[in-house]
Point group: C2
Chain length 437, copies 2
């Protein structure tokens, strides 16, 4: 039997510091719960000399990643470098050498997960990914284990704290996107290059992982329809508010009549819904299973300590497995790889819903007739129409809410509407999700 779980770490930035801090702070607590001590042996970092304000004791800090990746005195490598290069190779080598790997790297898993899981399986080691999705919120284990009796038909939520913070602030303060983004960058809630977050890439990485586990499908990040929040204006937010909605960047995977819908995009949700109540930097995941019904999981989706909590959850699982003699107790994607099956994706013609549409139109007779004629030709019926302000010279906003339609029809109609002389900006549409928890 193992005497201790010997841990090597790649990367000693924010999350790395949190993991080291936790392991050094709680040795007895962890050992009592795991049955064996968790021993942090070595950390590889580009800046081995930097003082992180931790009493590292006998922990070796090295500038040489190979002292971790190729080590023979470690049981597990915790990868907290992030990104694909050189991380992918390092994780590959660590697995190849028979070490378990735990990572918070959603991009790596979303894009190269299939190869890495297959390699881990062939080597009989674990590849732990709890920290890759929703920080401290234990959604990976919940999907794989706690909801294992359920056929899951939807998993959705707020998976990017930066976007949720920006949208929350835009609404609370009535400020435009660019201003709030700059403010978020100044506060450290958004990266200098924010595109991973605000274009929905980060949320889509996480959704790809959740979908695969929930539905037993191969990881397939490329099939997710992504739209970020750059085009959400303060006008849209004000209109949403007036109509009893909040705009959220919603990541959603949903199975309907055998077809998958996998989308990351801004949607309107009713003010009284629980999704709408997820504010600021928080993350929340909602899962609907055929027996459990809807369950919801909420907490901090990022940051030094919450992410460390998730990394250490995987370390504790591993320590308990090794102590108890368990091998591959739970498959990484819930079922063994040969049971994964691809499900067809809904086309835009199959994606149904009602939509908010905002246009800037010249305020003159006949405009509304032109627009509604186009909508009618595409069999789109209107639930509500709002026009505010009058101006003989400037464009005025015209807002409509449609009845149930297909996304394809909406897109086609908006292309035609954009051609009209009286329409001054590209019309914007936002899906309304009225039926969420």
């Amino acid at each position: 039997m193992l005497e201790a779980l010997r841990i090597g770490m790649l990367g000693f930035g924010t999350v790395g510091r949190g993991v080291a801090d936790l392991l050094l702070n709680h040795p007895d607590l962890l050992a009592n719960r795991a049955g064996i001590p968790l021993r942090l042996v070595r950390i590889a970092t580009r800046n081995p000399e930097r003082d992180r304000g931790l009493a590292l004791g006998s922990v070796e800090v090295t500038g040489n990643v190979h002292r971790v990746v190729d080590a023979t005195d470690l049981d597990v490598v915790v990868e907290l470098i992030g990104g694909i290069i050189p991380t992918r190779d390092l994780v590959h080598r660590a697995l190849e050498s028979g070490k378990h790997v735990i990572t918070a790297n959603k991009a790596l898993i979303a894009e190269y997960g299939p190869d890495l899981f297959a390699l881990a399986h062939s080597k009989g080691v674990q590849l732990g990914i709890e920290a890759a999705v929703a920080g401290a919120v234990p959604i990976i284990k919940t999907l794989r284990e706690s909801l294992a009796g359920n056929r899951i038909d939807s998993v959705y939520g707020i998976l990017n704290g930066t976007c949720n913070y920006i949208l929350t602030e835009m609404r609370a303060k009535g400020l435009p996107f660019a201003r709030v983004l700059a403010d978020a960058q100044a506060k450290g809630f958004a990266e200098a290059d924010p595109s991973f977050d605000i274009d929905g890439i980060d949320a889509a990485h996480k959704l790809a992982i959740l979908s695969a586990i929930a539905f037993g499908t191969p990881l397939d990040y490329g099939r997710i329809l992504k739209e970020g929040i750059r085009h959400v204006s303060e006008t849209d937010i004000a209109w949403a508010n007036e109509m009893g909605y909040r705009i959220k960047l919603l990541a959603m995977s949903r199975l309907r009549e055998g077809l998958m819908e996998m989308t990351v995009r801004p949607v309107m949700v009713p003010v009284g819904s629980m999704v709408a109540a997820v504010e600021g930097v928080f993350n929340a995941v909602f899962v609907h299973g055929d027996y459990a019904g809807t369950t919801m999981y909420h907490g901090r989706g990022a940051g030094e300590r919450p992410t460390a909590s998730a990394v250490v959850a995987d370390l504790m699982d591993l320590a308990r497995d090794l102590r108890a003699g368990a091998k591959e107790r739970v498959p990484s994607l819930s079922v063994p790889v040969h049971h994964l099956r691809t499900l067809p994706i809904q086309s835009a013609a199959q994606r149904q819903g009602s939509f908010y549409i905002r246009m800037a139109v010249v305020d003159r007779p006949g405009v509304l007739a032109e627009i509604t004629a186009i909508l009618a030709r595409h069999a789109i019926s209107i639930d509500a129409i709002h026009q505010k302000g009058r101006s003989p010279v400037e464009a005025v906003p015209l807002v409509m809410v449609t009845h149930e339609s297909t996304e394809e029809r909406i897109t086609q109609a908006l292309i035609e509407i954009e051609q009209l002389d009286s329409v001054r900006e590209p019309p914007r549409s936002i899906r309304i999700e009225a039926g969420l928890a």
Copy 2:
């Protein structure tokens, strides 16, 4: 290696039906995820002849509990009879014979858990209890595994759907307790004898289990301070509303400076808090850990299918453990029994907080002076005072909110106030919890 997990069931009521239904509905899904089939072999029930509307196939239904408890062809016994007698003996015998046991019986675990866990440990078998707390919400596994890296300092939430439904309805419809209770009984949300629910006993059973796991203390149901919702009046609810609060039956265990506070009672929580947003029959548990921060878990706390989801989660865990060769991977109370340690409980003199106090007083000069003199003598200072209506003959309501005080002082002061001639009913107090998530 095991070829299948062979399951026997005790009890075939609502939850039993749900478990059988799930196992019979999802054989392939479960087998793919667990690595071995989950086979329902036998069900013991008092009414073996009754038609439950299930295609039971080869499942044996018997009137003889010993065909399950003493069977040698079963790996695990699922106990869904409830209550203590004869359940305690049956569970004891099943464990004694070397079978694993999974139960949804919170009363049994809260009151006899220590013996049963010790017996299970001595026999090298599991005693699964996920379904005993908060139905489909996977809080047991989350505390034991997902938050295993955290020192937990509070766990609290809404653990009794019946009480939460009653309080939600009282507020929404402005109706008195007795009327809403009768309505809940008619709808099947409350038992004919509702005392287990409305006196806080059921919530306290669940809190005892959560506390033990969260804090590594021995199970000790007797130390929980319990107060039910019988005395919550529609007047209190209206006042709470007016002051920006909701009244909730809150189950809370909190560690402060080495002292435990374990209470189940109606409290006022701010309208904007997440606790306040838990409505109707839903359950929610909030956990604060030193690294994860506050995480929250929300879902259906009872019912045929949600409880079945939790029972099957334990069955899946067991199947995966057995298939993977793991023995006692995770201790039942998070740490081995010899690591459990009792923590001292806060006395009423140590429990600090602010309080809502409601009195019925005769509206004449000097009354307020008498009351405030008593409060001053007990060093209780007043944050706000409200009086509504005037009447020369009838008592009028007088409502106060105190600053931080101790519960002992409040109790003493209210005893003295009750003696006053001008005070017509026993004064009522409700703790205000303003700092919750």
